[in-house]
């Protein structure tokens, strides 16, 4: 019972509870202080993750390994950026309440447990803690019809996915007699060892997790939730939970079911191709930038799934690098989207960006950088994300994935450069309001990373490599 392995999670949970108590006892909301506490908690947790011990704890329920740590750092990064972005947005939208950082903290704890799970039960616990917090966050603007709708939609569909996942877990347990990842891995050493019932269970687990990463055909909730939820929440949705769900999927597919790769390979390939193609084509017709980002994230998740489908350490490394870069550039993009505010009102149509190149060259240059990066144009970080996944795909002989991947990224480039077109080529609309410094900070920092990643790619890639090796040991 080595509870110190979970110290970062415990610290975050305690901070969450403390903020909750503090917030309830104080009469007026002190959002700034609560958020700062949460960000401080994230930082402390990050330090603890990096310096913490490694091993399996809680009777095999919980594992701390380089893979978990890599994902946890990304999750904490995404959560911190989202917390910073929420400061200004929530206040101006009139939804600045202390529950926001609390929910953020609990969701983060859930996500960290997800990537540290070494048992299907822990997996489910972490997933539910995350999901329940996210449902509430989606409906956080409770007086706003669209936000409530988004929360409800997410809840109903998420509940369905959880049910499928649980059903799958029960099948796996019933047909193998264990829920422990290590025992499953030692039982299922070749595809012949898996009974049909267990394969069915595996498929249900996969479906439940595919819902969380919003892979086609389980993506239906994404555009509506992205559009309806407050933008600060959407920024969070687009970053940390994606890392957690993808990390979970990577671990489950590689570790307990790693030897069944022939059984799940084609399923993941279908999910990947479907997501890449739909993400590319469906985004073309969007006029709302948050919806566009939803489809964009579907496409990106498809790319990451393509890396997963290779089923070896190179593929996992590719996915981890992809997620790291994806988190940063997405957070930056959302910082720019949150800065879209005219006469006190948040605007979110793509056409509202018209003439940003003249009105606000700094913001326009950053957003253009993020768009080129999301499109995967070289020198931007997004290119390297794609490069590592494609390299793994080609190495694994998955030419169909590689070709679909690059061609869908050309289609994707069309809508990304359309945003640049609107900003620079179209006649100017009215200027945006003065940006809050917090937004400039997030956009500037992530922008620097995105543009300068090519100079120092090694730290991220080496860390990802180390992490990927650890789940294939």
């Amino acid at each position: 019972m080595n509870w110190t392995l979970a110290l970062p999670e415990i610290v975050l949970a305690v901070i969450g509870l403390a903020i909750l108590v503090f917030g309830v006892l104080r009469k007026q909301d002190n959002v700034l202080l609560c958020t700062m506490l949460a960000i401080g908690g994230f930082l402390v947790a990050g330090v603890l993750v990096l310096n913490g011990g490694q091993g399996v704890g809680f009777n095999g329920q919980f594992i701390a390994d380089p893979f978990a740590n890599f994902n946890k750092v990304l999750i904490l990064l995404g959560a911190s950026l989202a917390a910073i972005l929420s400061l200004d947005f929530n206040e101006k939208q009139g939804i600045g309440r202390f529950e926001f950082p609390v929910l953020l903290l609990f969701a983060t704890v859930g996500m960290m447990i997800m990537v540290s799970a070494s048992n299907l039960m822990t997996l489910y616990l972490g997933l539910e803690l995350q999901s329940l917090s996210l449902y509430v966050l989606a409906a956080f603007a409770r007086d706003d019809l669209r936000s409530s709708e988004a929360g409800l939609k997410y809840f109903v569909l998420g509940g369905l996915a959880s049910g499928l996942l649980l059903y799958g877990i029960s099948l796996v347990y019933g047909f193998s007699g264990t829920m422990d990842f290590a025992k499953l891995a030692s039982l299922l050493t070749s595809p012949e060892m898996a009974s049909p019932g267990l394969i069915v269970g595996l498929v249900f687990v996969l479906v439940g997790l595919a819902f969380k990463v919003s892979a086609v055909p389980f993506h239906m909730w994404t555009p509506d939730v992205y559009e309806g939820a407050p933008t600060s929440v959407t920024a969070f949705f687009a970053t940390a939970p994606k890392v957690a769900a993808m990390g979970l999927l990577l671990r489950v597919m590689s570790s307990p079911f790693g030897h069944l790769v022939t059984a799940w390979h084609s399923l993941i390939v279908m999910l990947a191709i479907g997501s890449m193609v739909l993400g590319a084509f469906a985004a073309i017709g969007q006029s709302n930038i948050k919806r566009l980002m939803a489809y964009s994230s579907i496409g990106h998740m498809g790319f990451a799934l393509a890396g997963l489908s290779i089923g070896n350490a190179d593929g996992v490394r590719g996915v981890l690098v992809y997620m790291a870069i994806y988190v940063v550039m997405t957070a930056g993009t959302f910082a720019c989207i949150i800065a879209m505010r005219r006469q006190g009102r948040a605007v979110e149509q793509i056409s509202d960006l018209a003439g940003l190149g003249s009105n606000d060259p700094f913001l326009a240059m950053l957003l253009a950088g993020f768009m080129f990066s999301l499109a995967g144009i070289p020198l931007m970080a997004g290119f390297f994300a794609k490069l590592y996944v494609l390299l793994a795909a080609v190495e694994g002989g998955s030419w169909s994935l590689a070709v679909v991947g690059v061609l869908s990224s050309v289609v994707g480039a069309f809508y990304y450069i359309r945003i640049i077109k609107v900003m620079y080529f179209d006649p100017p609309a009215g200027a945006f309001d003065q940006r809050a410094p917090s937004l400039s900070f997030v956009a500037g920092a992530t922008g620097l990373f995105t543009v300068l990643f090519f100079l120092f790619p090694s730290p991220v890639v080496d860390a990802a490599n180390f992490a990927a090796q650890s789940i294939f040991r």
Binding site: I377, L387, L390, E395, L407, A413, I420, K421, S458
Partner: protein
């Protein structure tokens, strides 16, 4: 490799590649009202590009012409895990294109001095970034580095066409971007396949790696998708007239002068040396497309009403001659192709600048709007005539040497190839002279043309170097061909040896 040439270990190529970025940083910090910013931006960009040009001339002096290998080599580990290095170096084939890029950039900045009045700072930033990408691309000796520069060119060019272009600029910019990107990503896949096969992305190593013939064909097609769009070869050329017509003058100049060469350079650097069997296999296919390009686009050029469009189509025809030359696989043909690339880089760039001069004054490129300019603009008429003749390929000008060598090379392959490829010269004379007559001769019928001003001092400064280059290349081509004699000879020898090897292997198998 040849560390002695590396000017005492000084990273000269990296310096000229990245120095424009220093200019970009300075540009970003300029403060003041719009007018001050514009003036300072122009001067900063001009000085940056001039300094880069002067430094790049060191290469001209210190390049060892007898050495067929790569010189000024720099090698720094970069993606160490994947054995990808940041490796730079030039050989006879690439060195002059580096210089072409660094010489054309200041001229372009000078040419946009007055014609770009909005967002001057952003324009200059785009242009300097473009210079970094172009120079880096020609210097790169690692395939991944090459690819990054090759594709990153899209970003500044997309902005240059889209922001400062003509009325249909958005359509042209998006078309340019998507056409080129589609080709590039397929090349990326070929790159990855070669990377995994050879275990390295080092270009000199890849040039001596033999790939299985079956694999070569796929790789060649993937490369072809990228380079043929960039060259552009018929029928992938349709983005070019749109891009040229809509781009601002400086954008057209760089597009015609350097960006089109990137495709042909890709053929010469990758397809032919690395994939000899597939190159030989697909050569008839390339010849067919090139001949169609030469004849068809020349005829199309005859029918154009817009000056820039006419020159754009003539570019497609001239680049068709280049691809014929490169795929003859003999020294004359390849030398001719390279020379043609260089001369076209100077001459077509000059022709776009020529169009830009009268466009700045009258704001139309419609040929029918002009006539009789020779009366009012004698100096302009002289410059125009010189470049038109060079474009036609008049002996004594830059255009002649390349076309002549290509035709000689093509004769060694096939009579009809030379015959049809040479037909381009006749058609070229037809459309160019027809253009010249309609614009320059005849009587002035329109009032606004009566008061038109001749070349200003700034414009002279732009044209003078190009005139000198055009004549120099025509009269004494050896000072240019001397750079690549050794490299081309090595390339042809290696190609012949590789083919002989494959034939021998095939003989053993049968």
């Amino acid at each position: 490799m040849n560390a002695v040439n590396n000017v005492m270990g000084f990273p000269l190529l990296s310096l000229i590649t990245w120095l424009p970025m220093a200019g970009v940083l300075i540009l970003l910090t300029i403060r003041g009202d719009e007018k001050t910013v514009a003036t300072n931006a122009r001067w900063t960009a001009l000085w940056t590009s001039l300094i880069v040009m002067v430094i790049s001339l060191i290469i001209w002096v210190r390049f060892d012409r007898a050495d067929a290998g790569f010189q000024f080599v720099e090698d720094v580990p970069w993606l160490a895990h994947y054995k990808v290095g940041y490796k730079m170096g030039v050989d006879g084939i690439s060195v002059l294109f580096v210089l072409l890029s660094t010489v054309l950039t200041p001229l372009c900045i000078l040419a946009s001095w007055e014609s770009i009045q909005t967002k001057v700072r952003e324009f200059m930033i785009s242009f300097l970034i473009l210079e970094t990408m172009m120079v880096g691309m020609f210097c790169a000796l690692d395939f991944v580095v090459f690819y990054m520069f090759f594709e990153a060119v899209l970003i500044p060019m997309y902005l240059i066409i889209g922001i400062w272009g003509g009325p249909r600029r958005v359509y042209a910019a998006v078309k340019f971007f998507l056409f080129t990107l589609t080709g590039s990503v397929l090349m990326l896949l070929a790159l990855l396949a070669m990377w995994l096969h050879a275990g390295t992305t080092d270009i000199p190593t890849l040039m001596h790696t033999s790939f299985p013939p079956g694999m070569q064909k796929w790789l060649f097609l993937a490369f072809f998708a990228s380079f043929a769009v960039k060259v552009p070869m018929w029928p992938m050329h349709t983005w070019l007239p749109d891009a040229h017509v809509e781009a601002p003058t400086a954008g057209s100049v760089i597009l015609a002068g350097v960006l089109l060469k990137m495709g042909a350079y890709g053929f010469a650097r990758f397809s032919i040396p690395m994939l000899p069997d597939a190159s030989a296999y697909f050569a008839p296919f390339i010849f067919t497309l090139s001949v169609v390009a030469v004849i068809y686009t020349s005829l199309v050029a005859l029918a154009q009403e817009d000056m820039k469009k006419l020159i754009a189509y003539s570019s497609v025809a001239h680049m068709g001659v280049v691809t014929i030359g490169l795929f003859t696989f003999n020294e004359e043909g390849i030398q001719g192709g390279l020379f043609m690339m260089l001369s076209h880089g100077v001459v077509s760039a000059a022709l776009f600048l020529i169009v830009g001069v009268i466009y700045d004054r009258i704001h139309t490129r419609e040929i029918a709007r002009y006539g009789g300019l020779a009366d009012r603009m004698p100096c302009y008429a002289f410059a125009f005539m010189l470049f038109a003749m060079a474009s036609v390929g008049l002996p004594g000008t830059a255009g002649f040497v390349g076309e002549f060598l290509v035709i000689v090379g093509a004769f060694k392959v096939n009579f009809w190839l030379a015959m049809l490829g040479g037909a381009g010269m006749i058609l070229g004379a037809a459309y160019t002279l027809y253009l010249y007559r309609r614009v320059m001769f005849g009587r002035i019928t329109r009032d606004d043309l009566r008061g038109i001003m001749d070349l200003s001092a700034r414009e002279w400064a732009v044209f003078a170097p190009l005139i000198v280059l055009t004549m120099w290349m025509g009269v004494y081509p050896s000072s240019f061909t001397g750079f690549w004699d050794a490299s081309v000879a090595a390339m042809v020898k290696q190609h012949t040896a590789a083919l002989a090897e494959s034939v021998k292997l095939a003989g053993v198998l049968h």
